[in-house]
């Protein structure tokens, strides 16, 4: 089938309105003309407007691209379709006129949703990134936002291979800091939400726009600081009745396994480390036969393993490859069925999606079923439109503790078997680290499912009061219910034993509603084009949660382990939260003579999170544009320029992402917390000395209220230029922005003497982001039929903190007491020692500044500063390496991010290549503590890098000499662990084939397409020099879910 163009669908609506205006005004001397309209791929094009030029007489093509119209025999027919070049054909008495429409490369006529309004792309004055939904719809992902990675300039998406398909999105580097959220606001069919986009069926998305700057986003003032992503979902189209079926299957592979030691090598490095330390090599597992040669060098003859590795003789030594044991080749399947129907009384669309994603880590799985019903009905001659958009989704995620599993696959020793000889679990033996068998962790968590059901949708009514003036009311709800039954089983795994079993059943319930009322007025008179919207919006969100748990189950089975079957430790708990927002807003867009553009926005938001005096924040914005290409002088002198527009915008947006009760001083009873991993903050005490039973409990302060809290505000200026040459064959844009977020809501650390609950939200920081975005495209269909479509984008931002109260500087990286404050740096900058190579010989050690623990084979840390006689820090080596020598050692913010998409189409084939990369990002390689050192964590497994550690005969190594004890404190935060995280990945490689018409017809289809693709096929990273990335995947330097390499096959059919 043809690649469904989202623009085409939108046209249906527009055409409908046009037709309505046209009304019945046909003249008398007529001939009937009919024909078929095809696109460049030879497929029938529905929804093309056919108008008799100079009249209001017209029609639209049906699903097969056919039309029929009664016209004056001497007239001219105008065929137009958004995104395609308009064609005019003289009728000249013909009764049959067939037309092939060609795509207008980047549609300046494209209609873009900008928030309570739509605008022509040519008229945009803000920084709006329009996602080419076509290019991402076949990507095998359960989250459309994931597919944005590298596609939109200025949007930085980080993601991993988790079947849950989570993604972190930062627009222009985010705008806030501390515990504030940098996540953008999502508006789906007019309903705001801050998360859970993975619960949306990617196939349902019709358009996706990223509002990046304040002038674009401030219409959503209150929560637009981090940018806004607008999503509209597909609707039925008039005159179209069809069934679409899309399916794909993806095979995923774990291609980035870390190289860790095998059983023999693990024994070897332990021996070597002992020899280096001058100790007799010993081990609770390995027996060493070794001797000293005539030169006095230790020589290892052989390593012996015991019959059993544990005192109770349940485990034989093994050579377990833990990364293999925890991973698998896995499959993603997606099936999507869409039914749509439309006529002049309304339209409807029903879509169903089944998505099952097994992860490359065993037992990880996400299973989603989503259903959508979008419909609208017209009354009063089309003046009243009533409709709804409704999403119902069910997501079932298997809850495997993935961070633990990835960590354990590295640290668990290879000599430990997966299973003991009696079929139980293998596990750590004496002398080993007390870490779990990761296979057990997977197997004993696979029964734990987190089930989420979500109803997300809205009902609307749109009434045309008089021509051009519309009132629209929209009521939407977002209701998420999550149910989670977690069963902890007892286990015996090496010396790790627990006889506790427990079921914890928990549920949370998240309900919010939004009620929006808008008045929209559009007027076009002469050269003036005015579009004004004003409205109110009320939002209320409530959250409640509770849990119950019991222990003591006689059978460990999911069918048995419901709460009722437990007999011990009967516990429960729960809580709630809520907030509300009320807003008034207005926006006016004005276009004069298609050349001069202006837009003005103001929004006033009230939030329950702020104190009485500061309930409201006002967020104004304006932007201006000048379409130079529409000026006569340019048109004549430089006809090659098809588009040239300069834009400037300024505006303020807000943020209110703080605790719901930040303004209140409050106390709470904390009967009991689980202090396994956090500090106990309980308020109950066994005052009677009875040792058990119910305890008396009191209250503790949990927050100091701040009644004068106010909105955090970001002021942003955006300057942009859009350009296109040769009828938009070349096109592009450049944007420069400056963004200053002030009064940032932070909950800073405070003087301890204030005691518990002294934490208080304040408006107390300023952050500055500056950057640019550059987009370039080329789109051409050559005479031989080869279509080329290239788009590239590159963007950059610099993020720095410019103000923080002095006393809280310590809470951020740096050493403010010695003049090294985070001000002027990014708030997430790396701060530590500079690792300056390895001591090669005793002379070097002796001549080096005083450094506790310095020795041959150890890391040198650079002496960069010290205190002068007045106790003031100066940047001059003082002969001592100490905490004064810490400095800025890397910025985790990338220098720039980029993407390149190339589509080649020829006849029925198309080829798509998509590259994405980031450059100049300093990552902290968490693995390195374990891959490079035998001294920081004893009893774990290590990386194969330890095999190439420095020795007096292997002096070129960058890995310090093996030792058993970290006497040089090499665990310290230093540049040794900071590596170049730059990468370039071939994210997507796809070949598609559109089945030719003839064949389709015989199959009773209207279109058919198959494709194959590969994802993450190639990765380029820095693998040379001191700064090289020594881990496997710079995109995932820690213990995150690994990114798979995957291969898909897919089919799209339309009936």
């Amino acid at each position: 089938m043809k690649k469904t163009n989202h623009l085409k669908k939108f046209t249906g609506l527009i055409t409908l309105i046009l037709l309505f205006l046209v009304s019945m005004n046909a003249s008398a001397q007529q001939i009937s003309v009919s024909g078929n309209i095809k696109d460049s791929k030879g497929e029938g094009l529905p929804g093309v407007t056919v108008i008799e030029k100079g009249t209001v007489n017209g029609t639209v093509t049906n699903i097969d691209g056919n039309y029929s119209l009664s016209v004056d025999g001497k007239s001219t027919l105008v065929f137009s379709f958004i995104g395609m070049t308009t064609k005019e054909v003289l009728v000249n008495g013909q009764s049959s006129i067939n037309v092939v429409m060609t795509e207008e490369n980047i549609g300046l006529e494209q209609i873009v949703v900008t928030g309570y309004q739509t605008q022509k792309k040519a008229d945009l004055t803000g920084a709006v990134g329009v996602v080419e939904v076509d290019q991402i719809k076949e990507l095998p992902t359960g989250n459309a936002v994931k597919a944005l990675q590298g596609r939109v300039a200025g949007v930085y998406v980080t993601t991993d291979g988790n079947p849950g398909d989570y993604a972190t999105v930062r627009i222009r580097g985010g705008s806030t800091m501390g515990s504030g959220s940098n996540n953008p606001l999502y508006i789906i069919d007019g309903m705001p939400t801050t998360g859970g986009i993975e619960q949306l069926n990617p196939n349902d998305i019709e358009t996706m726009q990223v509002l990046k700057d304040a002038s674009a986003a401030s219409i959503y003032g209150s929560r637009a600081n981090n940018g806004v992503i607008l999503i509209t979902t597909r609707k039925g189209k008039e005159g179209v009745s069809k069934i679409e079926f899309n399916a794909y299957a993806t095979i995923q592979n774990y291609s980035t396994k870390l190289d860790v030691l095998n059983t023999y090598e693990r024994g070897l490095v332990n021996w070597q480390a002992s020899i280096n330390d001058g100790l007799t090599p010993t081990s609770s597992i390995y027996k060493y036969d070794w001797h000293t040669d005539s030169n006095g060098n230790a020589v290892l003859d052989r390593i012996l393993l015991p019959e059993y590795i544990d005192p109770s003789h349940t485990m034989h030594p093994a050579d377990t490859k833990w990364f293999d044991e925890v991973s698998q080749q896995s499959l993603i399947q997606s099936y999507n069925l869409t039914f749509s129907n439309g006529n002049d009384k309304g339209s409807s669309l029903i879509s169903l999606n089944y998505y099952n994603h097994d992860g490359i880590i065993k037992e990880t799985n996400s299973n989603k079923i989503t259903a959508r019903i979008n419909s609208d009905y017209k009354f009063l001659d089309g003046k009243l439109k009533v409709g709804e958009n409704l999403l119902i989704s069910k997501v079932d995620n298997t809850d495997i503790p993935i961070g633990d599993v990835m960590y354990l696959a590295l640290v668990q020793q290879p000599v430990v078997p997966v299973y003991s000889i009696d079929g139980g679990w293998g596990g750590p033996a004496p002398g080993m680290t007390d870490r779990h068998n990761p296979v057990r962790l997977i197997e004993q968590n696979k029964q734990n499912h987190s089930k989420t059901a979500r109803v997300f949708g809205n009902m609307f009514a749109d009434l045309e009061i008089i021509k051009g003036l519309n009132f629209r009311t929209n009521y939407g709800i977002d209701y998420t219910e999550n149910y989670y039954r977690k069963m902890d089983y007892s286990y015996a795994s090496g010396f790790l034993i627990s006889d506790i079993n427990r079921t914890t059943t928990s549920q949370w319930h998240n309900l919010s509603w939004t009620w929006t009322n808008t008045l929209n007025y559009k007027m076009e008179t002469g050269l003036h084009n005015i579009d004004v919207v004003a409205g109110t919006e009320a939002i209320k969100a409530e959250y409640e949660t509770f849990y119950g748990s019991r222990e003591g189950y006689v059978i460990e089975d999911p069918d048995y382990m419901f709460l009722d079957a437990g007999t011990e430790k009967i516990l429960n708990g729960g809580g709630g939260a809520g907030n509300s927002l009320f807003s008034l807003f207005a926006k006016a867009n004005y276009v004069y003579n298609q050349k001069y553009l202006a837009s003005l926005t103001v929004r006033r938001d009230g939030s329950s999170r702020f104190g009485k005096d500061n309930l409201y924040g006002t967020f104004p914005a304006f932007s201006l544009g000048w379409r130079l290409s529409e000026e006569g002088f340019l048109k004549e002198s430089l006809p090659a320029i098809s588009n040239l527009k300069i834009r400037a915008g300024w505006g303020i947006t807000g943020n209110q992402e703080i605790s719901n009760d930040a303004i209140y001083s409050i106390y709470r009873t904390d009967y009991g917390v689980d202090p396994t991993w956090v500090f106990d903050t309980g308020t109950a005490y066994d005052i009677t000395g009875s040792d058990s039973g119910s305890l008396p409990s009191g209250y503790r302060k949990i927050r100091e209220g701040n009644s004068i809290l106010k909105w955090e505000e970001a002021k942003q200026t955006n300057l942009g230029i859009d350009f296109g040459f040769l009828d938009q064959t070349f096109y592009g844009s450049f944007d420069y922005f400056m963004k200053e977020t002030s009064d940032i809501l932070i909950e800073p650390p405070y003087l301890a003497v204030k005691g518990e609950g002294g934490n208080q939200w304040v408006n107390g920081a300023t952050l500055e982001n500056k950057g640019w975005e550059f987009v370039l495209g080329y789109n051409k269909t050559l005479n031989n039929g080869l279509g080329i479509d290239l788009t590239a984008n590159i963007s950059s931002y610099k993020r720095k903190v410019t103000y923080l109260p002095d006393e809280v500087l310590t809470g951020y990286p740096g050493d403010p007491a010695n003049g090294k404050s985070v001000l002027g740096q990014s708030d997430i900058v790396h701060f530590g020692y500079i690792a300056d190579g390895i001591f090669q010989n005793q002379a070097e050690v002796d001549n080096y500044p005083q450094q506790t623990g310095k020795d041959i084979g150890r890391i040198k840390y650079k002496d960069i500063g010290g205190l002068d006689e007045n106790g003031k820090y100066i940047n001059k080596p003082d002969g001592v390496v100490n905490d004064l020598d810490r400095t800025w050692i890397g910025d985790p913010n990338p220098d720039f991010i980029y993407g390149l998409n190339a589509v080649f189409s020829y006849k029925n084939f198309d080829l798509n290549l998509f590259f994405q990369g980031i450059q100049g990002v300093d990552v902290y390689n968490e693995h390195k503590h374990l891959t490079d050192f035998t001294s920081i964590w004893q009893g774990t497994n290590f990386g194969t890098r330890t095999l190439d550690a420095w020795t007096p005969t292997n002096t070129g190594s960058t890995v310090p000499m093996l030792t058993l004890t970290d006497t040089n404190n090499e665990n310290r935060y230093s540049s040794y662990f900071i590596e170049n995280g730059s990468y370039l990945k071939l994210r997507n490689l796809q070949i598609g084939y559109n089945v030719p018409d003839k064949l389709i017809k015989s199959l009773k289809l209207s279109s058919a397409r198959i494709y194959v693709q590969g994802q993450n096929v190639l990765t380029f990273k820095d693998s040379k020099g001191n700064n090289q990335f020594t881990g496997v995947d710079p995109e995932s330097p820690g213990f995150a879910y690994p990114n798979p390499t995957s291969y898909s096959i897919g089919v799209n059919l339309t009936f």
Partner: protein, 565 residues
């Protein structure tokens, strides 16, 4: 449209959202809630965590040559490793800051309770004065620990309101004035608390008197700005003697017949030796029980436990239990040879308290002859040797015992003041007053009880676990009891009696001997434990922990850093 207008008009009330499941300070002003606030203040005694334990082992045992940090290696809670080695420690060590913060949380809870209690009249709240006394006791307890760890500390009480806390320096009071402030609290508590409390968890008059004695004892050793002991105040010492006498005269306390009962949960209730303890509970409706979280890393690695082998007795400590042919400590020669395992414990003679304190390969664990401690229960033998700590751990079959995977805990109460400790304060005061002869019977009482405590230390065949030989001091017969000797004997006795109980480092600093003592320890012990070779104690600096850098910065420099840091 009408609806829109309606929404605009009522938007202010629409924007009012009351906080959920919380209570405001106004609502707290009732007698019931005043009791609740007092409970919450007690609760903080048990709000423990391994990162800042209330048993104080990382600050007092780990820093004094009695214990190694232990665990998986030096990087496993590196913050404690830095404390152990001193040389690496810095003012921004996050776990020092955390301890400081937790102690002020304790003070804050007492202050919050006092604010509510003070608002109520004695008519409304008949327990008013008594609860005030309890709260001031608890507050002083946290201040005492702060004082011994940090020397100069800001003093915050319930009268400090609003932003006034920002103006209070850690140098508002002198070293001696701070001791007096703490003493005043205990004095008030002593005057207003009943002799007996029906509820065992509440502090009583004699606990307050005892703590006052402890305060005066520390105060008596007057220090200069360089932390050197410049003089010993005899009137303070006399107060110590008289205060301890009151405790003794109360008749409420006595030494347990067996030393080991102090470390067994079943003897918690009805303890005659516990003067002040943190109450722990299990099966109490909280998620995991209110257990001794501060010790939850301190169990060995055998299947019955499995984590995490922290708080490991040093070779030096184990050697110090050796006795000579008279059954007295080997004051000068104890560390000339190491007792490690097997026959070492039969070929030498030992103080009985050894096997109550230290788990030794081949010796019964926690008095169970069928449950023998093995070398492979240890975790990082190459770094920290193969001993384990016994006092804070409980037998896995104890009803108080609970695994909190991956950790281990019990509901054994944690003693803060033990009667034996109280008796030894008096002995110490007497010796420094030159009345060592009066101290002799006290030390001997403690020793004699220890000598009598081998009943639970037997193998299945009835043989004693180690070769015990200990005697009381008999002047003229096995020693010459002059002041120097008595001082040496007292200090030795305190080490063996209170080893691994979170006290030792503060004793060394009080006596003014920390620097020499700890550097001597490093010199010898680093030949056995390589990681100690960079350990170095700087005189005039390391006697106290640094004022946490965070706090200095948050105070905008109002807090002055301790000497040497």
């Amino acid at each position: 449209m009408i609806a829109t207008g309606f929404l605009v008009s009522c938007s202010d009330s629409f924007l009012e959202m009351a906080p959920k499941s919380t209570i405001s300070s106004d609502q707290l002003l009732t007698p019931e809630n005043a009791e609740g606030m007092a409970i919450a203040a007690y609760s903080e005694l048990g709000n423990d965590h391994y990162t800042a334990p209330n048993s104080l082992w990382p600050y007092a045992d780990n820093t004094s040559g009695d214990a190694y940090k232990g665990g998986g290696g030096t990087g496993d809670i590196w913050e404690f490793n830095f404390m152990e080695l001193f040389a690496f420690n810095t003012t921004d060590n996050p776990l020092i800051d955390q301890k400081w913060y937790r102690l002020y949380v304790g003070i804050g809870r007492a202050n919050e309770a006092l604010k509510v209690i003070n608002e109520l009249t004695a008519n409304e709240f008949p327990n008013k004065t008594e609860r005030q006394a309890e709260m001031r006791f608890l507050r002083a307890h946290h201040y005492f620990i702060l004082k011994t760890m940090f020397k100069y500390i800001p003093w915050i009480d319930e009268t400090v309101s609003g932003e006034a806390f920002k103006e209070i320096s850690n140098k508002e009071f002198t070293d001696q004035e701070l001791w007096d402030k703490i003493a005043d609290e205990f004095q008030f508590a002593a005057e207003n608390l009943p002799e007996m409390q029906a509820e065992k968890g509440r502090v009583n008059k004699y606990a307050a008197i005892a703590y006052l004695a402890k305060t005066r004892l520390y105060q008596a050793y007057e220090q200069n700005e360089q932390n050197a002991v410049t003089s010993i105040n005899s009137s303070k010492l006399e107060q110590v003697v008289s205060l301890v006498n009151q405790v003794i005269a109360s008749g409420k306390y006595s030494l347990f017949p067996d030393f080991g009962y102090n470390f067994l949960q079943p003897h918690d209730d009805g303890s005659t030796e516990s003067v002040f303890a943190v109450q722990r509970s299990i099966d109490d409706g909280t998620p995991k029980g209110r257990l001794d979280w501060g010790n939850m890393l301190n169990y060995p690695m055998n299947p019955e436990y499995g984590c995490c082998w922290f708080h490991i007795p040093t070779q030096n400590l184990v050697n110090s239990f050796k006795t000579d042919e008279n059954g007295l400590p080997q004051f000068n020669t104890f560390n000339n040879s190491d007792v490690k395992e097997g026959a070492d414990f039969q070929n030498n003679t030992f103080d009985v308290r050894l096997d109550h304190t230290v788990a030794i390969p081949g010796h019964p664990w926690k008095y169970d002859p069928n449950f023998i401690y093995q070398k492979d229960w240890a975790r990082a033998i190459q770094i920290y040797g193969h001993f384990s700590s016994l006092k804070e751990s409980q037998h896995y079959e104890c009803a108080c015992f609970q695994k909190v995977p991956p950790f281990i805990a019990s509901s054994k109460n944690t003693d803060i003041i033990r009667y034996a400790d109280v008796l030894l304060w008096k002995a110490e005061a007497l010796i420094e007053l030159g009345r060592q002869n009066e101290a002799l019977p006290i030390i001997n009482e403690v020793r004699q009880r220890a000598a009598n405590s081998s009943g639970m230390l037997k193998f299945n065949d009835g043989n004693p676990v180690s070769n015990y030989k200990m005697e009381i001091y008999k002047p003229g017969e096995n020693c010459t009891w002059d002041q120097d000797f008595a001082r040496q004997a007292l200090r030795w006795e305190r080490r063996l009696e209170l080893a691994m109980e979170g006290i030792r480092f503060f004793d060394l600093v009080r006596w003014g001997i920390a620097s020499d003592y700890i550097n001597n320890y490093f010199a010898k012990e680093s030949t056995k434990r390589e990681y100690l070779k960079d350990g170095k104690f700087t005189k005039g600096k390391h006697e106290f922990f640094p004022i946490p850098q965070n706090q200095v910065d948050f105070s905008k420099g109002l807090y002055k850093q301790n000497n040497g840091w």
